[in-house]
């Protein structure tokens, strides 16, 4: 009984940790993705502002392409399906998906926030980080 219990708990812990490890989704900004920091084997999340005028729809399917930016770098996201109500150009969004071997990012899911004024915190941080990096660069250039 006790051996079975210990075995059961151990097995559950191992399975649980494996499931946990496999389903951790990391967030990367477009700058990090461009710098090659994002994994090519795993799904991850990327976020930023949708670039104005970058949204392109396929004429005969639900395929859509748009760029997101952290105001330093931009990257293209491909998605097939229905976008959330709050998806708009200039709006902060988060996409979950994979990098393809040819460098395209194909999203399985696109999230926009329910509150119009609300920015996904990762996107806000990514924008701040990119801005700080740009300032740092400008300083170096002056010196």
């Amino acid at each position: 009984m006790i051996i079975a219990l210990v075995f059961g708990v151990g097995l559950a812990a191992v399975l649980g940790l494996t499931a946990f490890e496999e389903n951790l989704l990391y967030f990367y900004s477009p700058t990090q993705v461009k710098a090659g920091e994002a994994p090519v084997t795993h799904s991850f999340r990327v976020g930023g502002l949708v670039v104005e005028g970058s949204v392109k729809r396929a004429p005969d399917s639900l395929k859509i392409e748009f760029d997101v930016t952290d105001n330093t770098e931009a990257m293209t996201i491909e998605y097939t399906g229905i976008l959330p109500d709050l998806f708009r150009e200039g709006q902060g969004i988060v996409a979950m998906g994979n990098l393809q071997p040819d460098g395209r990012f194909v999203a399985q899911e696109v999230l926009a926030k329910h509150d119009e004024n609300y920015m996904p915190p990762e996107v806000a941080d990514a924008l701040k980080a990119a801005e700080a990096a740009a300032k740092e660069k400008a300083k170096e250039a002056v010196n």
């Binding site: 009984m1 059961g8 559950a12 399975l15 649980g16 499931a19 946990f20 496999e22 389903n23 951790l24 989704l25 990391y26 967030f27 799904s43 999340r45 729809r57 004429p59 005969d60 399917s61 639900l62 097939t80 399906g81 229905i82 976008l83 109500d85 709050l86 708009r88 988060v94 999230l111 926030k113 329910h114 509150d115 119009e116 609300y118 996904p120 915190p121 990762e122 941080d125």
Partner: protein, 653 residues
């Protein structure tokens, strides 16, 4: 003027709660009857003033008093009356006021319905509840005053988030809060018992009905939230493992463990300190839930509030409540003696296993919800935990839980003969496994392991529960309401599991590009898209698609999904349309207009999804029945002999 009175009422209520928290405790320490007797009237007056404040805010919403900042932020002139009233709890400040009002209601309910409680114990319980009130009133008065004025006064207000304008969601927060806050009663009883240093089985008997009824409210509240998400969000899902959903699910899991553990403590006097710990844990997780929802620290579709000072306040409050009660527990728990003895194969062991399983589940949710927060707090990166983790964990946890549920309720207290049970249950076990795996094979012509396990589990729980009921009926045994409540709640588990299994295994969904006049077949249903028309609502304008659904040459229904634009909002809102029957839902959500008059459209076929909420309704009814049992009223009268010695025999009612 009235908003100022409301604000003033809150300040008075704050002063009264301080009196209610301090005076009765001093009285209890000095055994001073006059001070002790302050507790009840203070609770009543506190409710009166919190109620006045609440009425003042509601009135401001009803008469469109946009000079109140909160009202102007969350209502406008065209908003229907029902959503002006529910607008009170549409956001942060008002939700806190509702929370405090519900806490006052629970406090008074305890004061009124537990008249036969020993006076000293009652004084301590009400004082502990007042301390929680102090925290929330201070939170409101110092960081989130709902009565703050706005100058200049706007002519019209912003609108309540249109997503929240749904009858299901209008009553979802009050239900949820009834549950959350209701766990404060069990918490207060536990802390009062620890303070008194006399932790016998009596406190379990007192707090048991309160815990069960809170649990019922919480169950219904969570189910309503899930129902709302399914109806409103247009994603066709019923549970997203969103941090805010998890925030309400964790107290539910621990609360479920608590009501089962209370049963052992009340009936057999065992697991006493364990039960106290669970009571502290359940309420702490309710507070943590508030912290998660209201501080906006999480990446969540629900994060409506973003103000760190509030988060810091709640965190400090949480540390005081959890830390304080745990310290008290550490200091006092050695005075607790459990005298019940039992063999390994007994009801006690089964209930202990139940507790282990539910706590494991709560831990799994806690880790998945909090880990990203912790990682972020230490600057180690931004991560989130994907759905598959939670799904896998719960599939794993469901197996021992369902297996146990078939045995637990029929094992006798103290000890039982496993051969006796094996003889009775083995045929049901074999039948459930065979039928569970055969059913999908017959209907869908495929053998799916997960579906088989799910259906077998549901059958096993339903059949063992019904068998026990019928064996009691055939022996002409009495069926007390508490027993019937348990039976119905456990049947609810079977219904729920069947619904989840079938929905997850056989749902079909498709994102489509449809032109008017075209049709698409999904799961044997033909969706004919007729076209889109413009519809004018009370405070929105909508594009409405007309879809006829046909099956085998018969029309089975019509769907009218809408894309709404609310006055005062620039973003459109999806309003899904659902054709509902007990065995299947047909669901359509309208996307956006594409080139050439076509529309993007999402269609779903969701078999047996209704069973999920039906199961929750069963569980809720079960809880309500259990609380209505005569036993609690009888014990209450019997307890008029206040200091009657506690014996296991007497407890084994």
């Amino acid at each position: 003027m009235i908003p100022e009175l409301g604000h003033f009422a809150l300040i008075i209520a704050f002063a009264i709660t301080i009196v209610q928290a301090v005076v009765p405790l001093i009285g209890a320490a000095r055994n001073d009857a006059a001070l002790i007797s302050m507790a009840r009237p203070a609770a009543l007056v506190q409710l009166l003033f919190v109620g006045l404040a609440y009425a003042a805010l509601t009135q401001a919403f009803i008469v469109h008093d946009f000079s109140v900042l909160y009202v102007s932020q969350h209502s406008n002139l065209v908003q229907p009356l029902m959503y002006r009233i529910s607008g009170v709890w549409g956001s942060h400040e008002g939700s806190l006021l509702l929370w405090t009002l519900i806490l006052s209601l629970w406090t008074v309910a305890v004061a009124v319905y537990s008249r036969n409680l020993p006076d000293i114990l009652m004084a301590r319980v009400l004082a502990v509840m007042a301390m929680i009130s102090i925290g929330f009133l201070a939170f409101m008065l110092f960081t989130s005053n709902p009565f703050e004025r706005l100058f200049p006064v706007p002519l019209d207000g912003n609108e309540l988030n249109p997503l929240l304008q749904d009858p299901g969601l209008a009553i979802h927060p009050p239900m949820l809060y009834m549950g959350y806050v209701g766990f404060s009663v069990a918490f207060a009883f536990a802390v009062a018992a620890l303070l008194g240093g006399k932790l016998d089985a009596t406190w379990a008997r007192w707090s048991r009905p309160w815990t069960t009824i809170s649990w019922s409210f919480l169950t219904m509240g969570i189910a309503l939230g899930s129902w709302w998400a399914y109806n409103e969000l247009g994603w066709g899902g019923w549970w997203f493992w969103d941090p805010v959903e998890n925030a309400s699910f964790m107290p539910w899991l621990v609360g479920t463990a608590l009501i089962h553990s209370l049963a052992s403590t009340e009936k057999r006097g065992v697991f006493k300190s364990w039960t106290v710990l669970l009571a502290i844990l359940a309420f702490s997780l309710s507070l943590l839930g508030t912290f998660i929802v209201r501080s906006g620290v999480l990446v969540s579709v629900h994060a409506f509030a973003t103000d760190p000072t509030r988060g810091v306040f709640i965190l400090a409050f949480l540390v005081i409540v959890v830390g304080g009660s745990l310290a008290l527990y550490a200091w006092r728990s050695d005075t607790v003696v459990s005298y019940g003895r039992f063999q390994w194969f007994s009801r006690e062991t089964a209930l202990l296993l139940n507790n282990i399983i539910f706590l494991t589940a709560a831990l799994a949710v806690l880790v998945g919800t909090m880990y990203p927060l912790v990682v972020d707090a230490f600057g180690l990166g931004k991560i989130s935990v994907g759905r598959p983790y939670f799904d896998a964990m719960f599939a794993l946890i469901a197996i021992p839980l369902l297996l146990l549920l078939g045995f637990g309720p029929v094992i006798r207290w103290k000890g039982d003969d496993w051969k006796r049970l094996a003889k009775v249950q083995i045929s049901i076990f074999i039948f459930s496994i065979v039928a569970g795996f055969l059913l999908p094979f017959i209907i869908e012509d495929e053998l799916n392991l997960a579906t088989g396990f799910g259906l077998a589990g549901a059958l096993w729980v339903a059949l063992t529960t019904l068998r026990d009921l019928f064996s009691r009926l055939s022996k002409n045994l009495k069926l007390p309401l508490a027993y019937l409540g348990m039976i119905i709640a456990h049947l609810g588990v079977a219904v729920f599991v069947a619904g989840v299994t079938v929905t997850m295994s056989y749902s079909e969904e498709k994102d489509l590009r449809m032109e008017p006049g075209s049709s698409y077949n999904i799961a044997g249903y033909d969706f004919h898209f007729q076209g889109v028309r413009i519809v004018q609502g009370p405070n929105y304008k909508a594009s409405e698609a007309v879809i006829e659904v046909w099956k085998d040459g018969n029309k089975s229904g019509e769907l009218f999904p809408q894309k709404r634009t609310y006055t005062g909002k620039s973003n459109p809102m999806t309003d899904a349309s659902i054709d509902k029957t007990l065995f299947r839902d047909l669901y359509a959500a309208l996307g956006e207009e594409l080139e050439g008059g076509a529309w993007s459209m999402r269609v779903y076929y969701k078999p047996m999804i209704r069973w999920i909420w039906l199961g929750c309704i069963f569980m809720t009814i079960g809880g309500v029945l259990a609380v209505s049992d005569r036993r609690y009223r009888q014990t209450a009268t019997a307890k008029l002999r206040k200091d009657a010695p506690e014996t296991p025999a007497a407890a084994n009612a």
